[in-house]
């Protein structure tokens, strides 16, 4: 039965092919039904697989792909609890976002092609998580990158959008190079890129093996690109140029978590390399805090959410780095619910305000968009980590593990949580409370149609109850999700020296601290933006130093441009104008000239004058005789 799950990716692929080939010949409604229907079938299969998996892992071989000596890979899918959870998220949340898009993209002239791209994306994402080898994972990995490029630049008339799309692709390619080199090293070290072979052989390696460390660090470079970690994060905020459902699906719920999936999947390799684990945790926690500080001052509703995604992804890496694999996967799931919800709410707001994205021109939308408001509130509570909403349980578990591994990481994580609660409530208050600050003559805020609000409601429910699958034992739960994932992560966990317990401080107390800090933040946000009704200053006003840095993303884009992009273009011109034209071609042309010059000299000798020839002959003979006599 289980092997039917191998068909899951092919429905969205079929959808893409049908929509791609027929395109405008299909009526919009039919196209939407096909796209959503394909996802629904996949979701049904994924659900069936989820129900029947119970800790098994099964490979389904479809076809060979590349065979060159030991460097071979086939189209083979792996069905196990880890892939099953991701399949559920991708097809489930993906389906809701597809439905939402029917409303959001209804009037777009490229409606059908949008759905075609979305289906293609889902296909590649499913390949990514179902692959049974790193090389096949790479297929999905680059494929989702392509779809991300196509969808960020979906409105391709706009240069800024195209730039954002190109930037996303190229930054991802930087990460992909690391990933690819990691795969090649895996081939060389293990003679294969199949998980099964590698993970079995990895058991024979000592902890701290240099080769394993190199491999895991290279793989992590790939993860940094795809999951937007420092220093490869700057593409994600720009990626908000894409239509909002794209931001929800690709740049929040699914694609950007591919890096977490990859590290979790390679758990046993990371477990063998304490250095890599430390790097993962460090990059994660630094990104979590850094991105949160930027989110504090953003005024674009989608930018706030984008930096928040970067920050939350950082938390997931923190979890992986401290060995809390299942907690990280848990957070991937809850984050998929509440971040997809928040983005779709943002989309609903933008839709209701005829394209407005600046929160300085919002306010007071609570009454006008009641469903959006309630669901956004739920999403905000979930991300801030207020119990019993979903984000609380997953983030808390990460923080508890961080505490037992490294107190500093925990403290930084806490700081990040504090800022998260603040910027999210700032966003909520500025958008929905107070009075409307936009031009009420031109814009008439209105609630979105059902096709958009129903997905919001479903996601809001999931964001409310989704955390209950991972209630820790200290709160009387059974932590079902970690039990479910146990068969996958057990070998890795066995390799790690896990510090159990939290060193005297009880889990309850840590939770208490977290909740207190978060509540204080929320109060601060309420005081500033509700009680004192302050609104961020408009563009061009002089900002305090730190605010200015934060508002401008610490000028990282400018720094990259000055250090990398511009110098490379200069070098390009220099190579062409100096090395190519003057040096290399100079030598080539000079050799031509020398030949001409020599032949010119020779011409003088061939004067056609018999006297000269005779003279030369006599001199020559004399010379020969003279030399002989010497």
């Amino acid at each position: 039965m289980l092997q039917y799950a191998a068909l899951i990716p092919f429905f969205p692929l079929a959808g893409f092919i049908i929509l791609g080939l027929l395109n405008k010949r299909l009526p919009k409604n039919l196209a939407a039904v096909i796209a959503c229907g394909m996802l629904l079938i996949s979701f049904g299969l994924a659900l069936g697989m989820f129900m029947n998996i119970s800790g098994q892992s099964q490979e389904v071989q479809l076809a060979p792909w590349i065979n060159v000596g030991s460097f071979s890979a086939s189209f083979t899918f792996l069905l196990d609890p880890l892939s099953s959870i991701f399949l559920m998220i991708i097809t489930g949340v993906g389906f809701l976002i597809h439905v939402y898009s029917i409303g959001y993209m209804h009037d777009d002239e490229k409606h059908n092609i949008f759905f075609a791209y979305l289906n293609l994306f889902v296909f590649f994402m499913l390949v990514l998580v179902m692959a049974s080898s790193y090389l096949l994972m790479f297929v999905g990995w680059e494929g989702v990158g392509l779809c991300s490029y196509l969808l960020i630049g979906f409105w391709f008339k706009n240069k800024a959008y195209n730039d954002a799309a190109k930037k996303a692709f190229i930054m991802n390619r930087i990460g992909d190079l690391g990933f690819l080199l990691g795969i090649i090293l895996l081939f060389i070290t293990f003679g294969s890129s199949d998980y099964h072979t590698i993970f079995t052989k990895a058991n024979g390696f000592m902890s701290g093996d240099a080769m394993i460390t190199t491999i895991t660090l290279l793989l992590f470079v790939g993860a940094m690109g795809k999951s937007a970690q420092i220093p490869l994060y700057t593409w994600l905020p720009d990626a908000m140029a894409g239509p909002t459902p794209v931001s929800a699906l690709i740049h929040a719920a699914t694609m950007v978590t591919a890096g977490i999936y990859m590290v979790a999947r390679s758990g046993i390799l990371y477990a063998l390399s304490p250095i890599s684990m430390y790097v993962v945790a460090l990059v994660g926690v630094v990104t979590a805090v850094f991105a949160a500080t930027i989110a504090l001052t953003q005024n674009d509703i989608k930018k706030v959410l984008a930096y928040s995604t970067v920050s939350q992804l950082g938390y997931m890496f923190l979890g992986l780095g401290v060995g809390a694999f299942s907690a990280s996967v848990f957070h991937v799931m809850t984050h998929a619910f509440f971040k997809a919800l928040l983005f779709l709410c943002a989309g609903s707001v933008i839709h209701g305000l005829a394209g407005e994205q600046d929160i300085r021109h919002m306010g007071g939308l609570r009454k006008k968009l009641p469903i959006t408001f309630i669901t956004f509130l739920i999403g905000t509570l979930a991300i801030a980590g207020i119990p019993p909403f979903a984000g609380f349980f997953s983030k808390d578990e990460i923080l508890i593990h961080a505490y037992s591994s490294n107190k500093l990481f925990w403290a930084l994580g806490m700081l990040g949580s504090m800022m998260t609660a603040f910027y999210m409530f700032r966003l909520l208050f500025l958008t929905f409370s107070g009075t409307y600050r936009g031009d009420s003559h031109k814009v008439h805020p209105h609630e979105s149609p059902k096709v958009m609000t129903v997905p919001l409601i479903i996601l809001a429910i999931l964001s409310t109850i989704g955390g209950f699958v991972g209630v820790p034992e200290s709160l009387g739960g059974t932590s079902q999700i970690s039990k479910f994932l146990d068969p996958v992560f057990k070998p890795a966990q066995a390799k790690m020296m896990m510090v159990e317990g939290s060193g005297g401080v009880s889990e309850m107390m840590l939770m208490g601290i977290t909740i207190t800090v978060v509540l204080i933040s929320i109060f601060a946000a309420w005081y500033m933006y509700v009680s004192r009704k302050s609104v961020p200053v408009s563009e061009g006003t002089k900002l305090p130093f730190f605010t200015k840095l934060s508002y401008h993303n610490f000028y990282v884009d400018e720094i990259y441009s000055a250090l990398i992009t511009k110098p490379l273009d200069k070098i390009s011109e220099l190579l062409k104008n100096i090395i190519e034209n003057k040096v290399i071609d100079g030598v080539v042309n000079a050799s031509g000239k020398v030949t001409e010059w020599v032949s010119g000299l020779m011409r003088f000798v061939q004067t056609g004058n018999v006297d000269f020839y005779l003279l030369a002959m006599v001199v020559g003979i004399a010379l020969i005789i003279f030399l002989k006599l010497m």
Partner: protein
């Protein structure tokens, strides 16, 4: 016999084509090249998966010098013959009706096809040299008579450049010939034996002789300066022939002749030639960043891609060689597709200047999609034809030396930068003055581009179809040294 049939048929059609009434010229040339393709497809499909040469024909030609007319095909040859016969009909079909002196043009293209097939099937050193030089004649006239403004100077430079290389090869071949055991012979096996029996020092010197010949043809950095000028000034079909098929002569020469003859020469110089190749990958790729002319940008991208192929082949392991072979096919297909797209754009707008284009997707979505797919092949996205080759080549180089693999791997970033930049500036955005009245692909243009798109995906999804054909020959090559 099949090989002789191929050679005679193409040669005969090239001759007859000169006397066909002008209005049938296109159809005649296209149909005869199509027949060649179908026949070679049949050969390919029935090709036995062994390392031995098939369809060998051996006539004594110049008895006193031990020169034979000896031809045959192994898995490597058959793939390259396939590439030639697949691309030639497309190239012929892509010729615009407005081309002056069409009959001569078609005949030269067919004549060139014959010479290229000859290069890929020769099993006698002298015969190889003859075909190698014959192939230069038609392309010389194509560039000289149908080229752009500066064609006389550029074609002369191209001609002298490659002729110089060829002379070094001739000297090398004669030197080896004189060292063949017993009665001197140009037979491939005799030359292999002769080369291997040479001292390390002699092998190294000869290695550089052959390197010049093959390196100029491909071209490898820094022997490449004829190429961007020639590519951008030649008529589109000439550029397609040069970049799609002719440069593979150089790569084929490395695999078939140079490396098996001079294994010690390679092992002693591999470090240098690989670094040269890798330098070319980065150098040409970075120059491509700021090119303003689409054709020139593609010319530099071709140098960059070929550098990677060369590096993989010099690494001389299974991955590098197999990667090199499949990449020869996909590079040929991609580059012909890309140059044709440029030709279409130029024929519509009168310019190839990237800055004055833009917004073509608004007017010609079909062209934009086809262009995108071929471009993805060129940047080696998985499931397109560029990926198996690039992955295997980088792996091969990496296996040879890690640091080289890491450096040459940068190509996947660099390639994406210049390709996506060009695509964005020409196809996306708002329309410009030049592209305001752009029309989408005609049926004829689709007929050329759709087979290319199909191949881009076919090679990407089923690379084994091709890899398994050349595998036995590659294993034999690896085992024989």
């Amino acid at each position: 016999m099949p090989i002789i049939a191929l050679l005679i048929f193409t040669f005969a059609t090239a001759l007859i084509g000169l006397f066909i009434p002008i209005r049938y010229g296109n159809r005649f040339a296209f149909i005869s090249s199509l027949i060649v393709f179908i026949y070679s497809l049949y050969l390919f499909c029935t090709f036995p998966i062994t390392a031995d040469f098939q369809y060998v024909v051996d006539y004594s030609w110049i008895q006193s010098l031990g020169i034979h007319f000896k031809v045959g095909m192994d898995g490597i040859s058959v793939l390259l013959v396939m590439l030639t016969t697949f691309l030639t009909p497309l190239i012929i079909f892509s010729v615009r009706k407005s081309e002056p002196r069409p009959r001569a043009f078609y005949s030269l293209l067919l004549f060139m096809e014959m010479a290229l097939i000859g290069v890929f099937v020769s099993m006698d050193g002298f015969l190889f040299y003859i075909f190698w030089e014959i192939a230069l004649i038609p392309i010389y006239f194509i560039c000289l008579l149908w080229g752009g403004k500066d064609r006389v100077r550029i074609t002369l430079k191209f001609f002298i450049y490659t002729l110089t290389g060829s002379l070094f090869m001739l000297v090398g071949l004669i030197y080896l010939y004189l060292h063949t055991p017993g009665e001197h012979s140009f037979d491939i096996q005799a030359l292999y034996t002769a080369g291997k029996s040479l001292s390390a020092h002699a092998q190294c010197i000869l290695f550089w002789f052959f390197f010049l010949a093959f390196g100029i043809k491909m071209p490898i950095f820094p022997l490449h300066t004829w190429q961007p000028d020639t590519y951008s000034d030649a008529p589109t079909q000439g550029t397609m022939m040069l970049s799609g098929i002719m440069l593979k002569m150089g790569i084929y020469g490395l695999i078939r002749w140079m490396i098996p003859m001079l294994p010690v020469g390679l092992s002693q110089n591999a470090q240098y030639v690989m670094w040269l190749s890798i330098a070319g990958v980065l150098y040409a790729g970075i120059i491509a960043f700021t090119r303003k002319d689409m054709k020139r940008l593609l010319a530099y991208s071709s140098i960059s891609h070929v550098g990677l192929i060369a590096a993989g082949i010099f690494a001389f392991n299974g991955q590098g060689l197999q990667g090199g072979i499949i990449q020869m096919l996909s590079h040929g297909i991609n580059v012909v597709g890309l140059f044709f797209v440029v030709d279409i754009i130029q024929s519509r707008t009168g310019t190839r200047d990237i800055a004055s284009l833009g917004g073509i997707r608004l007017k010609a979505p079909y062209l934009a999609t086809v262009f995108a797919i071929i471009m993805l092949g060129a940047v080696a996205l998985p499931l397109t034809d560029g990926f198996p080759g690039e992955f295997l080549l980088i792996s091969g180089v990496f296996k040879f030396e890690n640091i080289m693999g890491a450096v040459v791997g940068l190509t996947i970033i660099i390639g994406a930068v210049y390709m996506f930049r060009m695509y964005q500036r020409t196809i996306l955005g708002e329309t410009s003055l030049a592209t305001e009245n752009f029309t989408d692909l005609t049926a004829g243009e689709k007929a050329v581009l759709i087979p290319i798109v199909i191949m881009v995906i076919l090679i990407g999804v089923c690379p084994n179809l091709f890899l398994k054909v050349s595998e036995p020959a590659i294993l034999k090559l690896l085992g024989g040294i």
